[in-house]
Symmetry: C2
DNA sequence: GTAATCCGTAACACCATCCGTTACACTTGA
DNA sequence: TCAAGTGTAACGGATGGTGTTACGGATTAC
């Protein structure tokens, strides 16, 4: 499975929700979409994944929109990654290798463990960065 | 850029080359393709990338084929990963965010550093495994 | 030198996925 | 009751990976 820009957009949106939290009230998907430069439906689809992970909540009707469910210091990039990306960092063969070949018969089992370790290494690294830290960086860069 | 199965197939092929090294002579793309269960052209395309990275050599004509250029104990999964995958572990936005938004204007710069760290973390993990180690695992699993 | 074998690469079709867009039903709040 | 939101299905376009055919070029064996 190839990587998408979902992680980037999801982090962008969460940073925006945390950054705008001083203003009162939730942010609409239309407003968020104008910052990301995309369509509101794309934003709602992505935020639905984050809602499924317990990171945000949505509210309908006038004055409705999206808001964080946790303080930004307690949301890490690992949480976001798990919410929006698939299970596997590196996919195995598209079609199964030849079972009559000793290497073909066993290579997937051999690789699976190493891939799992690599995925854990990424997640360990992503867990070091919080949305709150990104808000700080954004404020420093944007002035 | 999303992940593909290129890393898996490349590691499979290199393991096959190392495993079959006791037999004399290079392996043909047709033989390799039958183990991977794909088309010889696919194998040649992928091996061309590995050749560009100095991992294998090719030889035309009868008796020709592909062979390792280094002992399998000195080829790590990090070498293979760098040879066949793109630069970025996680892509940034497909279309640039809104420069009139403080978050949109700065989020890419803020994320770039974190993504670089994550990529290094993956590579650090992949560098712990060699093709020789995979040959051992395959032998243990296949009997 | 001739033929067989193998690589090198272009060209094309197929397929899955992602992204953007439209459309419309539903819910909420004033 | 109306306006402002979300929820979600449906569709099309773009992209990239994969599989396949085709053919030119190089090398080896005889």
């Amino acid at each position: 499975m190839r990587p998408s820009s979902r992680l980037t957009v999801a982090v962008h949106v969460l940073t925006l929700l945390a950054h705008g939290a001083e203003g009162e009230g939730p942010l609409t998907s239309g407003f968020i979409a104008s910052s990301v430069n995309t369509n509101p439906v794309v934003v709602r689809r992505l935020l639905a994944l984050l809602r499924g992970a317990g990171l945000v909540r949505s509210q309908g009707g006038p004055g409705g929109g999206w808001a964080l469910l946790r303080p930004p210091g307690r949301i890490t990039l690992r949480d976001v990654y798990r919410a929006v990306e698939g299970e596997e960092l590196f996919p195995l063969h598209a079609s199964a290798p030849n079972p009559r070949c000793p290497v073909g018969r066993t290579i997937q089992a051999a690789l699976a463990g190493h891939y799992r370790e690599a995925r854990l290494a990424v997640e360990r690294d992503l867990s070091r960065t919080t949305i709150a830290a990104l808000v700080e960086e954004v404020r420093a860069l944007a002035g």
